[in-house]
Symmetry: D2
Subunit: 300 residues, 4 copies
């Protein structure tokens, strides 16, 4: 397949590489060109603009940081992808973006007779490299089918949510909110246990023996060891995703009190200058506010 | 072993029965005598007072609802167990009680040369019946060893937290807080998804595929089907445990914002007259406040 | 003075009328033309577009609902005011808008050599009619001076915050947040008192005798009598202003937990379909969640 | 009148002194006897126990820190006041205590044919010295009348809430909650304004010009100048009063989210070791969490 690929970040790079390895023809664009050139060594063509990446593509994959990046690359101005994407071609958006942004993409692509599938992914960079991403897809069934080869080359499965693309984005946002909620919960409970000078490793053992979740297990370990660097997913992005949940809550008039706490704790972490730590460090805020530790970093 | 047993509720009854089946000699007391007489058919002796249950016992087991019930049965007045428990005998408290209460029990038993082990349990009534409880124990190592036969007859394992009994109570409180936090998190995310009229079963599938926790799986199912009756553990008890977390937070000066939300949502459920539903129904408050449903009960 | 005026809503109409009465020459634009024509009877010229209202004006006043309305009228497209506002002319923005929007207006006007003063107002429609508005102004001192005759014709005073226009917007947002916080506080305390069936009027008397604030006095009365119609300032606008506070909190990394509660309570009110009631009705959410009343409206 | 007086703290001392000056016969008890002896110079008799202070008194006044102190002095043991208070004598309790405690006092005094009036006060030590306290009274009308001379000698007015004593305690708790809520609101708004480096004094001016409350004015000044020492009313007592509100909320099943935030912020202040500062310092927590300041004390 002829594939355009925009966004060669921590996630996008291994994804594009895997497409090449599966035999697809990939034309890649990245804002800082160096990363695209790196990929050229593995057979990719380098595009000078999003528009060039989209030219002639059957499927255009975007893997970008946020709404703003998607808007810039896909919708705005002459160099944007939408202008040169062919009729019948399909844009598959793998980024975690807002429900509103997804609706706008659907409308704008629809006006030009282009297809649009939302397919945000679960998995960290290692999972991307190992073709173990999980896709949450929504859109017209026939369009989703067209994108199957792409998703098959990159992941371990596809959950289809519905026929309106934004539904996949909402589910992705809601699951990320649950993950963040678990971080907050574990963080508060840790602070409580540590403030009483009870052995937190024993607590973690009991917790694992009760909840039996690899998510609690891995984040519990990170929080226990305060191992927030390098970040698999940063506090800054955690804040972004919490804001996406709050926006979705606002547009549907759904109170979301836990998201309010998360927002404040992410903001406090940013106020202390640590937005680049792993988002599990949101647990440190509970420790700081209980005066168990002084700073977000180990040794503090 | 000669065992005194106080508290034949949903949990206590199957526990006492299992002690009998393991060949122990059990003298049982329950506030409403009928339940003790039921157990008499299986070989227990019926005590007229907590004091009588404690007389001659090597180990005294208590499995009661809250601090007040423990205080009444063990500490207060002439009929209380402490007055007749022998020197060297050991009280093993399996109830979920406060850190303060546990410290008072330790002190009072210590003054009389009696032993005291805190060993709260995880597991619902079915687990109690199936000898699958998990014990979280703390106390003097030699005293814990004396209680081993009791715990072995009732559960699938013992996690030893430390040498001060209250430490086990704190860990139990903290883990229950994590469970409640997960209920709140799942409840809010459900409300968000449902308010957007996205298929909540799809959402639950994705959630299970991401978190892989039997806890999320079972509670997700209950919340999905609104199956809050009969209660395995009631909203009223959920509020009690949240208050225990808040007390432990207060005595150690640890902020615990999520516990504040939980408290308010349990109170709202009680204000609506539904304290007897399963505590998973705390999720309904998010639905009600988003106007997805009108009442806590299915059909509302 | 030659004045352009955009936005003849509940506030803008009496303001424009007062400018006419003070002898100024007013060219007025409103999205629904009827209101402008009404004003024509009192001597205003009717503009067909924001651009026409700005043409030839020494001072351009905007009094609009939110960022979106300001962007549309002032910045976007050929009919927007900025295109035809003269060099040296000054735009005085009286709307409650975001810090970001205000910064963008400053930049865009600056690029064209136009002046820009932010001067949001305190006061309800009656105060606007009675020339009793309070202006919170910020901008270049000389530009503020040029706008003095306008503010003198409309209000009872001007507080100058600083030389950067957005500073006035931030102060306005922060004060509105304090007002909303007082509503929430009074609302929760009312629910507590009423749930105990204690006479709430007695409570209000004591409160007034303690706090001595006309704000508590007037809102306490509204809440006491549940007199939320007609709205002086709606729940919907209350939510908008809370969102402005949250945005300002985000851009400066300041946690704001009370704003989180307010947001959720405004959203709950909207979820129940009552966004048009006076924002004091946010107090009803506390009553509803304590099951003191069933609906937001009197009689519920 | 023959008056027994228990509790010569910051508030009790000037109150007892004013009773003496009004010509009443006062027998005073204080846990640390020195303060009672000080008062003896002004004509008081010194009691060796609460019981002795109550002996022969027509009215017994208590002005104590919390439930525990009242329980100890009035109800528990042989030296407690209730044992020697005469039939028909009246206990007027001026402390801020819980609704539950007040109900227990009513019941216990009633059993002995003694009267009981709850009459908590508003006012700081200076107001107590200047006979400017405000009494919030509840109880049997005839009993309240008997206590009039006492209240007239100490304050500037009496608000009668109802015939059940606990109603006065609830109103006192609710009003203190409103005051604490205003502190939180002002604290958060200050942090927001300061984080943007906008002149906070200008903000305070605008706030005062909008809210017109001496409470906001005086607390705004304290917060502005960070003048938290000496404390008129400490953070520790602020926490106690917030807990009273939360207890009253629990017993009536009323959610109270703002009280949850207050509790967490008072706890954070205590965790940092500053429980003795004035309760207005709760505002510092917002500053600390936004990283505007590093510690609760000026200069931090």
């Amino acid at each position: 397949m002829k594939i355009g690929f925009i966004g060669l970040g921590l996630m996008g790079m291994p994804m594009a590489r895997n497409l090449l390895r599966s035999g697809h023809e990939v034309t890649a664009y990245n804002r800082t060109r160096g990363r695209a050139e790196e990929l050229a060594k593995e057979g990719a063509r380098v595009a000078d603009s999003p528009a060039q990446a989209a030219t002639g593509a059957e499927v255009l994959v975007t893997m970008l940081a946020d709404d703003r990046a998607v808007r810039e690359a896909v919708l705005e101005g002459e160099r944007a992808a939408i202008a040169s994407l062919g009729r019948e071609a399909i844009h598959i958006s793998c980024s975690t973006i807002s429900v509103e942004m997804s609706k706008e993409l659907e409308r704008r692509h629809g006006e030009r007779g282009q297809g649009y599938v939302a397919a945000p992914v679960f998995g960290r960079p290692e999972a991307a490299a190992a073709r173990k991403l999980l896709f949450i897809a929504a859109g017209e069934p026939s369009q989703i089918e067209c994108c199957r080869p792409v998703m098959d080359a990159l992941g371990r499965g596809v959950s289809i949510i519905g026929e309106q693309p934004w539904q996949a984005n909402l589910v992705k946002i809601a699951v990320n909110f649950v993950l963040a909620g678990m971080l907050e919960t574990v963080g508060e409970s840790y602070a409580l246990v540590e403030k009483h000078r009870v052995d937190a490793r024993k607590f973690l053992e009991v917790l694992n023996g009760t909840i039996h979740s690899p998510v609690i297990e891995s984040y519990g370990k990170i929080i226990s060891e305060r191992g927030y660097e390098p970040a698999g997913f940063s506090l800054r992005l955690g804040l972004k995703d919490t804001e996406l949940a709050l926006e979705a809550a606002k547009s549907s008039a759904s109170p979301l009190p836990l998201a309010g706490i998360l927002r404040d704790h992410f903001l406090q972490a940013l106020a202390y200058g640590h937005g680049d730590l792993d988002w599990a460090a949101v647990a440190e805020i509970s420790r700081i506010n209980a005066n168990v530790v002084r700073t977000l970093k180990a040794g503090g």
